[in-house]
Symmetry: C2
Amino acid sequence: MKFKIAILGAGNVAWHLAPALENAGHEITEVYARDIEKAVKITERLYSAVPKADLDFSESEAEIFILAVKDSAIPEVADAVILPEECILVHTSGAIPLDILGYSSATYIGIFYPLQSFTMGKKMDISDVPFLIESEDQDTLRKLKKLGNSLSQMVYVVRSKDRKAIHVAAVFASNFSNHMIRIAEEIMRRQGLDFEMLKPLIIETISKSLQIGAKNAQTGPAIREDYETLEEHHRFLNYNEQLAEIYRLISQDIIDS
Amino acid sequence: MKFKIAILGAGNVAWHLAPALENAGHEITEVYARDIEKAVKITERLYSAVPKADLDFSESEAEIFILAVKDSAIPEVADAVILPEECILVHTSGAIPLDILGYSSATYIGIFYPLQSFTMGKKMDISDVPFLIESEDQDTLRKLKKLGNSLSQMVYVVRSKDRKAIHVAAVFASNFSNHMIRIAEEIMRRQGLDFEMLKPLIIETISKSLQIGAKNAQTGPAIREDYETLEEHHRFLNYNEQLAEIYRLISQDIIDS
């Protein structure tokens, strides 16, 4: 099943998704960005898509409209876009509820959320990206499933309630684990030490965690309940009260769980 | 420079280190474990090392004694071991000070700390493992450097004060980032969701973090100062007060830094 698709947005998600959709055999009809130059940066990577800086899509041949703008711009663009009849409008956000698209001119609405962190210019194998899809209309859901399966091995139908849980879990697994590395970088820099020496440990830990589960992979003073070391580390961190409290709280949670 | 080496301990570190030392051309003379069976498990992997369950090494030909027991057992074993004259005793811990070996019968003492998380039975390329070495005796330090360089590309001479900073940084980078993944696992399990869908995101995040630095790699609601989503996530977590507090505190630290 091949679709004609318009992309609204020209950021990281659009940059990765648009060529991947073409590679999967779909046709990208238009790419919209408020700044036409940005739309051109995407259409340049495509066969015949037209860049657009206005939101009048009443003459578009697309059947699926993928709204890939930043979360805060979703309501505004969804409300303003003029869509042809019988089309599907989806957004690509993990955090925004489905019903925010309910005020748009779309006949059918849904979510087509790639659970991945995209960086413009950095290659990404879309077939490894999980797509979380949602719609209250069964035929729309079926089409989004087809669309997802044409790109990726991992397509999940997810309810809004679960999507929120997944988003919270993703914040811990991605943003917060990254921040732990950030703190480690700062501790090393403050002492004039080379952060490179920690990289092999980080790679090994995360790889073990994903292989055998984070519970089984855990090591260190907290899981050993080595209170002497915990106390010493806490004292070491007393140059930054917030950091010391983070150390205390996470150690406690490791002990408790 | 090739050494004759005895290993005291038969855990994860000994399991990896002993064969790697042989591969690098050194000779392992003995392996000690309180339980002889455990010592045999290591010597079986070696050419001619003798398993021992007693700590009388007065007749040993080894010049370097590597104490690779768990942290809490270091003082006890260091005090009890009977060493030949003019030998070097090192421990392999990131958390234990050097001077704890000062009560031993060793002429020279030092630290030979592999900054990595070892799992028995799981292959590990020792040449990628950073070795952090320390000694107050210059000749000992020189020998430990040679020993480290025979195994690994990454050998760092580190003072005790810095070793503590590195250990604290390693707790954040390894144990705490792993615990963030653990929390994510729990959130998904509680909701009956498949944790697999988060793995590509974790791999991409950590790989990006190590490539461009954690500060530049950060994404998510906290760095965007998206207080609405932060508030919603905090509410979502109110089934576990400690978890909600961890969410609040780390988000605040991301915003502050």
